[in-house]
């Protein structure tokens, strides 16, 4: 039975995410320096954290794939990276908007957090083309897993290396210790909402892919249809 619990998860996501934006708009205090434009913080930072964690999770799922060689793990790793990549676009866009409003430019090169995110994003942007370029599904899964593991390890290393430049223009989310309580609370609720959004999208994509695979298998049995599948996605077929 596919899709179990999806409805509950979707409703929870909507409630928490809408709630988070509501308290970000009405409850969280205005930032003394940045005023209203600081509110994008509650969208941008959770997106970035969830997206980066998604990349790392993709790497861990790929480890599981190389261990078990079950293609379901490859599908899970693919979906985690795919969703993170989509969230990554949103991170870059919201980051650019925030940079424009608070620093006056769309992009700032001396900014380690921005630059490392861009590097990680560029690396993962080659994940899908790489999958497309390998015909054999079994080899594609194996190579994608190696890529996902190397990439997953690269994420924290890259952030560490680039951050070593010690430029402190970017508002530091953690370690500054000066975020007042209501802001922290709002931030944590937004983070939870974004994590739920990731989980929901992840589940939806997995279930869709599995259902489509089942449908294809059934149709093949019913119609004796041996025509090769038209592939428009780099996702592994199960």
């Amino acid at each position: 039975m596919h899709g179990k619990g999806l409805r509950g998860l979707s409703v929870a996501t909507i409630v928490v995410l809408v709630g988070a934006f509501a308290i970000a708009a009405f409850y969280a205090p205005l930032d003394a320096d940045q005023g209203f434009r600081q509110k994008i913080f509650y969208l941008h930072v959770p997106l970035a954290i969830v997206s980066l964690v998604g990349f790392i999770v993709g790497g861990l799922l790929a480890v599981q794939h190389l261990r078990s060689r079950a293609s379901i793990w490859d599908l899970r790793s693919y979906v985690a990276i795919h969703i993170s990549l989509i969230l990554g676009v949103a991170v870059l866009v919201t980051g650019a908007i925030w940079a424009k409003t608070s620093w006056g430019v769309w992009w700032l090169w001396d900014e380690p957090t921005l630059v490392s995110f861009l590097i990680v994003f560029l690396l993962y942007a080659t994940y899908t083309p790489m999958r497309f370029a390998i015909e054999d599904p079994e080899r594609q899964a194996r190579y994608a897993s190696v890529f996902a593991i190397a990439g997953g390890a690269f994420v924290p290393i890259c952030f560490g290396a680039v951050r070593a430049q010690e430029q402190e223009v970017h508002p530091q989310t953690f370690g500054s210790g000066e975020l007042p309580g209501p802001m922290w609370l709002t931030f944590l609720v937004s983070l939870a909402g974004m994590a739920l959004l990731f989980a929901t999208l992840y589940r939806f994509e997995i279930e869709t892919k599995l259902t489509r695979g089942r449908l294809r298998a059934l149709r093949r049995r019913l119609l004796d249809d041996d025509a090769p599948v038209q592939r428009r996605s780099a996702a592994p077929t199960i």
Binding site: L123, M130, I149, A150, I157
Partner: protein, 223 residues
């Protein structure tokens, strides 16, 4: 160790006999200096500009080496021959990285003096040992990442495209570290010292990626 020596000997002998990579890399590197000269319209460079040009040139010339690194193994059955031998597969990775390191040294033996001759304002003599150390760390980082990415890219349809595309983001921390370290060395009017932090970052990055590549290399060879 014996396996590694044999594999490395095979790689270097193959390169000496076919001359597929190194001459092309050298020629490409020197040509890039000429391109930079006209692109920037500068007769001489120093400091951060010089560091950037040197690192980028080595990087791009090295990409040619990355693209050729596994082609003979893929097309002429080198992988099959290696898999039939009862040896640990990791050695192939180590040998490939070692071979690429040697190619890069050969490239730099020509390209760095050429750079000093064509573009660099302060001479190379002012901080030669430090320069060699930074170049060695840069080569090691490049060789490690290229040996891993090359093995992925060679079995894809668009190998010459995918190799550099995957390798470049992974190499950016190496580029940052090497460029920051080279900048004071190539400064006009006396070289500054090496920054210990960047040295540590570059060395650690090489080490971590070396271990990581060894850990994930095996599945790339199975068939």
């Amino acid at each position: 160790m014996r396996v590694l020596a044999a594999l490395l000997r095979k790689e270097l002998r193959l390169e000496l006999r076919t001359l597929e990579s190194v001459p092309g890399m050298i020629l490409f590197g020197v040509t890039i200096f000429v391109v930079f000269h006209f692109g920037l319209d500068r007769a001489s460079v120093e400091g951060d500009l010089a560091a950037g040009i040197l690192v980028v040139t080595i990087l791009f010339a090295g990409m040619l080496g990355l693209n050729r690194l596994y082609v003979a193994d893929e097309e002429q059955g080198g992988f099959d021959g290696f898999l039939l031998a009862p040896v640990d597969r990791t050695w192939l990775f180590v040998a490939k990285a070692g071979a690429l390191f040697a190619y890069l040294v050969a490239l730099e033996l020509v390209a760095v003096p050429a750079f000093a001759l064509l573009l660099l304002e302060p001479g190379l003599g002012q901080a030669l040992p430090e320069l060699l150390l930074v170049l060695a760390l840069l080569n090691a980082g490049f060789a490690i990442i290229a040996a891993l990415v090359g093995a992925i890219a060679v079995r894809t349809r668009a190998r010459d495209l995918l190799g550099p595309l995957i390798a470049l983001p992974l190499l950016i921390p190496v580029v940052i570290g090497a460029a920051r370290l080279l900048e004071p060395l190539l400064r006009e009017g006396g070289a500054g010292g090496l920054d210990a932090t960047w040295l540590a970052i570059l060395g650690l990055y090489d080490l971590v990626f070396g271990l990581l590549s060894i850990a994930v290399f095996d599945p790339l060879l199975e068939d």
